[in-house]
C-alpha cells in the first residue's frame, strides 16, 4: 500500500496518572523510507522513547491510550491482532534497548536468548536457531562467538552486551532497527564503536534505522534525517545537515548551543554571562563545519581577562589541597581492587581542576578521598600544608566545613523526608547555630544565590526538577562557607540545557566567592568548558595532566588521544571523516 517503511500519522499517546491522563506524545507525524535512518532527538520527557515503543505496539495492556495511525512495513500496528503484532516485533522491526544489562535475561545464556527469539519467528530446529545465534554474534564482533554464546549476560562487558542486543535485533533480518538510547549507558570510546557497528550493519543489510537519543552528537554521524521533539510534539525536522547546521527553530538552536564542545578553546560559560555564551555557541555551530576555533575566536578576548585571573600556571594561587601518591584499595585480603593507584595533584586557590575518565577509572573514589569521605589507604593528602589524610573523624570536624561536595545523583543526594531548607540548614545547625531567624535568613540567602526562590524553605525534594535539586545541593555545599568544592559528575544526570545552566552557576559562584573547584566528569566537553587545568584518569592513575588547552589541543598520551577522537561531533561531515579514520585504524 504505502511506499514508506514507517508511517506515523497523528500519533497521540497518553498515560494514566492518578485520575487523569498525561499526554506523552501529541499528534506526531513522520515517515521513514526503507533503508534510511531517522534520528529522534529530545530531552527527557519529550516523548521520544514513547514513540519508539509505539512503533512496536508495546503500549498494549499498559493502560496507555493511543490514537492516530502507526504503520510499520505495511502493517497497521494500532489495529493489528496479537498474532500479527508479534510478527512485527522482531521479524519486521527489532528494538535495541538502552541498558544492555537489564535488557537481557540474567538466567539464560545469550545464545539461547537469541535462539529463542529466532524460533518465535522461524520454524527451525533448536540446533539451527543456536547456529543462527552464533552467526549473528560473530557478525556483531563478539570474539569466539561459538563459545561466548553459552555465557550469561553478566559475563560480558557493557559494550559487548550492547553488541549482543544488536545481534538479537539482527537475528530475523528485520527491515527496521529501532535503537532507543543505545549508547547512553556506555563510555565514550565504546559508544563510538557501537555507533560504527550500527552504521556498518545498516550499510550491509539495507535495514532502516530509527535512532532515539538525547545526544545531538550521536545523531550527527549516524542518521540521514533528524526530528527534534519537545513536549510530545515535533519542533523541527529536516536532513541532519540542515537541522544541526542551520537550525530554524529557537528551541533547536538553544539545544545546540547548550551542547558543550570539546573543540572549544575558550571558557565560554564560566567567564561570561549565559546569553553571550548561547549566542556565541549558536554562531559557532551555525557558521562553521570544521571545528569551532575560527568562529569562537572573537569571543576569546572577552574571556581573556577573567581567564588570566585564575590562570593555572605560575604562583598566582596558593596551593590549597595537595595529593601526593594517594592510593585507595577496596576489599579485604586476597581480593583487593586498587581504585586509585598513586595519584598526585594540586588544587590552587580559586582555580578549577577538571578530572576526566571513563567508568571505573577511579575518579569518583579520588573525589571522595579529597573531601575525606573515604579514607586513603596510602599516600598523603595535605590541606594548606597540614596532612589530613590520616586524621580521625573528630580531629577532622573543624576542617569539614572547608571541603564540600556536590553529588551526581540529584535524587539520592537530598533526603526525601526532609524539606530542602532543613537540608541546607543542617551544616549551620551542626556548627552550633541555634537562632532560628538567622538560620532562615541564611538559607533564604543561599537559595537566592543559587537561583531559587528564598521562600521555598519548606518544600520537599520531590517537588523539584533535577536541575533545581542540583541547585539545592549546591546551596547546601555553600552553606558552611567552604574553600573547596568537589563536584562529582554534577551535571551528568541532567538534560543538556539544564546542564549548561548548572555549569554556568558553578562558574559564577567560583568567580564571586573565590572558590576552588574540582570538577569530576566523564564528559570531556563539559570538563573543557569549566576547567583551568585537567587531569585524565585511567585505571586509577593520572595518565596526563596540564593546562586544559594543552591537553585538549595537543594530547600527549595515546589514551587521551583515543578518548578525544571518540567524542561525537555535531558536524555530520566531520563525523563521517572521523568514522572513516577509525575504520582505517581498525
Amino acid at each position: 500500500m504505502s511506499e514508506h517503511l514507517v508511517e506515523v500519522r497523528g500519533l497521540t499517546v497518553e498515560f494514566p496518572v492518578a485520575d487523569s491522563y498525561v499526554r506523552a506524545v501529541d499528534g506526531l507525524d513522520f515517515t521513514l523510507e526503507a533503508g534510511k535512518a531517522l534520528g529522534i532527538v529530545g530531552e527527557s520527557g519529550s516523548g521520544k522513547s514513547t514513540v519508539a515503543f509505539g512503533l512496536l505496539g508495546l503500549h498494549r495492556g499498559t493502560g496507555a491510550r493511543l490514537t492516530g495511525s502507526v504503520r510499520v512495513a505495511d502493517v497497521d500496528v494500532v489495529g493489528a491482532d496479537d498474532g500479527e503484532l508479534r510478527r512485527v516485533r522482531g521479524e519486521l522491526a527489532a528494538m535495541v534497548f538502552q541498558d544492555p544489562l537489564s535488557a537481557l535475561d540474567p538466567y539464560h545464556p545469550v545464545g539461547d536468548q537469541i535462539a529463542e527469539v529466532y524460533r518465535v519467528h522461524r520454524k527451525v530446529t533448536r540446533r539451527a536457531a543456536r547456529a543462527r545465534a552464533v552467526e549473528v554474534l560473530d557478525r556483531v564482533g563478539i570474539p569466539d562467538a561459538a563459545r561466548r554464546a553459552r555465557s550469561r549476560p553478566h559475563e560480558f562487558s557493557g559494550g559487548m552486551r550492547q553488541r549482543v542486543l544488536i545481534a538479537m535485533a539482527l537475528a530475523c533480518e528485520p527491515r527496521l532497527l529501532i535503537a532507543d538510547e543505545p549508547t547512553t549507558a556506555l563510555d565514550v570510546t565504546v559508544q563510538a564503536q557501537i555507533l560504527d557497528l550500527l552504521h556498518d550493519l545498516r550499510a550491509e543489510t539495507g535495514a532502516g534505522l530509527l535512532l532515539v537519543t538525547h545526544d545531538l552528537g550521536v545523531v550527527a554521524g549516524s542518521v540521514d534525517h533528524v526530528l527534534v521533539m519537545k513536549d510530545g510534539r515535533a519542533v523541527e525536522r529536516g536532513t541532519v545537515a540542515e537541522v544541526l547546521g542551520t537550525p530554524r527553530e529557537p528551541y533547536t538552536r538553544a539545544l545546540l548551543a547548550a551542547v558543550p564542545r570539546v573543540d572549544a578553546p575558550v571558557h565560554p560559560v564560566d567567564k561570561r554571562g549565559p546569553v553571550a555564551a548561547v549566542a556565541a555557541g549558536t554562531g559557532g555551530a551555525a557558521a562553521t563545519s570544521d571545528g569551532g576555533d575560527a568562529a569562537e575566536a572573537p569571543a576569546a578576548p572577552v574571556s581573556g581577562g577573567a581567564s588570566a585571573a585564575v590562570g593555572p600556571v605560575g604562583a598566582d594561587g596558593d596551593v590549597l589541597l595537595e595529593a601526593d601518591g594517594l592510593r585507595r584499595e577496596f576489599g579485604r585480603r586476597g581480593a583487593t581492587v586498587t581504585a586509585v593507584d598513586g595519584v598526585s595533584l594540586t588544587v590552587r586557590e580559586g582555580e578549577t581542576l577538571g578530572v576526566v575518565g571513563e567508568s571505573g577509572s577511579g575518579k569518583t573514589t579520588l573525589g571522595r578521598m579529597l573531601v575525606r569521605l573515604l579514607d586513603p589507604t596510602g599516600g598523603q593528602l595535605r590541606y594548606r600544608g597540614q596532612d589530613i589524610g590520616a586524621l580521625g573523624e573528630k580531629a577532622l570536624r573543624p576542617l569539614r566545613h572547608e571541603l564540600q561536595m556536590v553529588f551526581q545523583d540529584p535524587v539520592s543526594s537530598l533526603n526525601p523526608r526532609r524539606s530542602i531548607g532543613e537540608s541546607i540548614a543542617d551544616p549551620l545547625r551542626a556548627a552550633g547555630e541555634r537562632d532560628e531567624r538567622r538560620i532562615r535568613a541564611r538559607v533564604g540567602e543561599l537559595l537566592e544565590r543559587v537561583g531559587l526562590d528564598p521562600d521555598w524553605y519548606h518544600r520537599y525534594p520531590h517537588e523539584f526538577s533535577g536541575g533545581q535539586r542540583q541547585r539545592v545541593g549546591i546551596a547546601r555545599a555553600l552553606a558552611p562557607e567552604p574553600k573547596l568544592i568537589v563536584c562529582d559528575e554534577p551535571v551528568s544526570a541532567l538534560d543538556v540545557t539544564t546542564q549548561a545552566q548548572v555549569v554556568e552557576l558553578l562558574g559564577e559562584l567560583q568567580r564571586d566567592l573565590g572558590l576552588s573547584l574540582v570538577f569530576i566528569a566523564h564528559d570531556l566537553a563539559v570538563v573543557r568548558q569549566v576547567s583551568d587545568r585537567v587531569a585524565v584518569m585511567r585505571a586509577g592513575q593520572v595518565v596526563e595532566h596540564g593546562r586544559v588547552d594543552e591537553v585538549y589541543d595537543s594530547p600527549q598520551h595515546s589514551y587521551t588521544k583515543g578518548l578525544l577522537a571518540a567524542v561525537p561531533v555535531l558536524d555530520p561531515t566531520e563525523s563521517a571523516a572521523r568514522r572513516a579514520a577509525r575504520a582505517g585504524a581498525r
Binding site: V17, A18, V22, R368, V371, L373, R397, R400, H401, L403, Q404, M405, F407, Q408, D409, S412, S413, L414, N415, P416, R417, R418, S419, E422, S423, D426, P427, A430, A431, H458, Y460, H462, E463, F464, S465, G473, R476, A477, A479, P480
Partner: protein
C-alpha cells in the same frame, strides 16, 4: 519528623491510600471492634451477667462426661454462646477475656521485638566492623533458634509465680527480634551509602545526629511494614503456646487454650471449636489484611508513582 507539617502530610497521604482499599477498611473496623471488646470485657460480661471463671456443673451432662446440655453447646438467654464442656464456664465471657490476652500479648511482644530489633539493627548498621560482626552474628543465632520449641521450653522452666501474660510477651518478644534487626541493618547499610548521608557528614554532623535526623525517618516505613506483619504472627504464637498448655495458666482464658480443650470435645460439641477458631481467625486475618494494606501504602514504588505525578505539576 523534621517538620510537623511534612509528617502530617505524609500520614494523610498514607491514610488516603489505605482508605481506598475496601478490604483493608473492613479489616481495620474488625480490629477496632476487637480492641473495644477487649477493653470492655468486664462491662460486656456484666451485661450478660456472667464471669469467665465460675463453674456451672448443672449445665453439663455429667453422665456423658460433661457435654453441655442444650443445643449449640448450651446456648441460652443466660449464656449467649453456651458453656464450656466439662466445666460449664460461660463461653462468651471466656471469649471476650481471651481477646484481652490475645491482643495484649501480640501488641506487647511486637513492641519488644521492634525496640530490640531497631536498636540492634541500627547499631550494627552504623557501628564499626567489629560491632557489626558481633551484632549480626547474634542476630543470626537468634534467627537460628527454633523459636517455638525454645519458647515452649522457656515457658516451662520459668517459675510459675511470674505473671504469665508478661512472660509470654517477653518470650515471644525476646526470641523474635531477629527479623526486624536484619531489616533495619540492611536498610541502614543501604541508606548510609546514600549521598545525602555523605553530605550530612561533610556538614559536620556526628554519627548520632545522622542516625537521628537522616536515617530514623527513612527506616520508619520498612519497620512499620515489618511490625504489621509481626502482629498476626505473634497472635498465632500466643495461641499456639496456650494451645500446647504452656501459655497462660487457668483460670485465665485464652483462645488457644479453649481450642486445646476443644480437641477432646470436638465430636460432641463442635460449637465450642468453631467459636474460638473464628475469633482467632478473624483477628489474624484482620491484622494480616491491614498489614498488607500498610505495606502497599508505604511501598516506595507506590510512593514514587505519586511523586512522578506531582513532578509534572511542579
Amino acid at each position: 519528623m523534621s517538620s510537623p507539617t511534612g509528617l502530617l502530610a505524609g500520614v494523610a497521604q498514607v491514610w488516603r491510600r489505605l482508605r481506598s482499599q475496601r478490604a483493608a477498611l473492613t479489616a481495620a473496623i474488625v480490629l477496632a471492634a476487637l480492641v473495644v471488646i477487649a477493653l470492655a470485657a468486664p462491662l460486656l460480661t456484666a451485661i450478660e451477667g456472667q464471669d469467665p471463671t465460675t463453674y456451672h456443673d448443672t449445665l453439663v451432662n455429667s453422665a456423658s462426661g460433661g457435654v453441655p446440655i442444650g443445643s449449640f453447646g448450651g446456648v441460652s438467654a443466660d449464656h449467649w454462646l453456651g458453656v464450656e464442656p466439662g466445666t460449664g464456664r460461660d463461653v462468651f465471657a471466656r471469649l471476650v477475656y481471651g481477646a484481652q490476652i490475645s491482643l495484649l500479648v501480640a501488641v506487647g511482644s511486637t513492641v519488644v521485638q521492634v525496640l530490640i530489633g531497631v536498636a540492634v539493627g541500627l547499631a550494627a548498621g552504623l557501628g564499626n566492623r567489629f560491632l557489626d560482626h558481633l551484632l549480626s552474628s547474634t542476630t543470626d543465632v537468634m534467627l537460628a533458634l527454633p523459636t517455638l520449641v525454645f519458647s515452649i521450653a522457656l515457658m516451662a522452666v520459668v517459675p510459675s509465680g511470674f505473671p504469665r501474660p508478661v512472660l509470654l510477651m517477653l518470650v515471644i518478644g525476646l526470641l523474635g527480634w531477629g527479623g526486624t534487626a536484619r531489616v533495619v541493618r540492611a536498610q541502614t547499610l543501604t541508606l548510609r551509602e546514600l549521598d545525602y548521608v555523605a553530605a550530612a557528614r561533610l556538614g559536620g554532623s556526628s554519627r548520632w545526629r545522622i542516625a537521628r535526623r537522616e536515617l530514623l525517618p527513612s527506616i520508619a516505613a520498612p519497620v512499620i511494614t515489618y511490625a504489621a506483619l509481626l502482629l498476626p504472627s505473634n497472635v498465632v504464637s500466643e495461641a499456639g503456646l496456650s494451645f500446647l498448655g504452656v501459655g497462660v495458666k487457668p483460670p485465665t482464658s485464652s483462645w488457644g487454650q479453649m481450642l486445646s480443650t476443644a480437641t477432646t470435645w470436638f465430636r460432641a460439641d463442635p460449637t465450642y471449636v468453631l467459636l474460638p477458631a473464628l475469633m482467632l481467625f478473624a483477628t489474624t486475618l484482620a491484622f494480616t489484611v491491614v498489614g498488607d494494606a500498610v505495606r502497599t501504602a508505604l511501598d516506595p514504588r507506590a510512593a514514587s508513582r505519586v511523586r512522578v505525578g506531582t513532578k509534572g505539576a511542579a
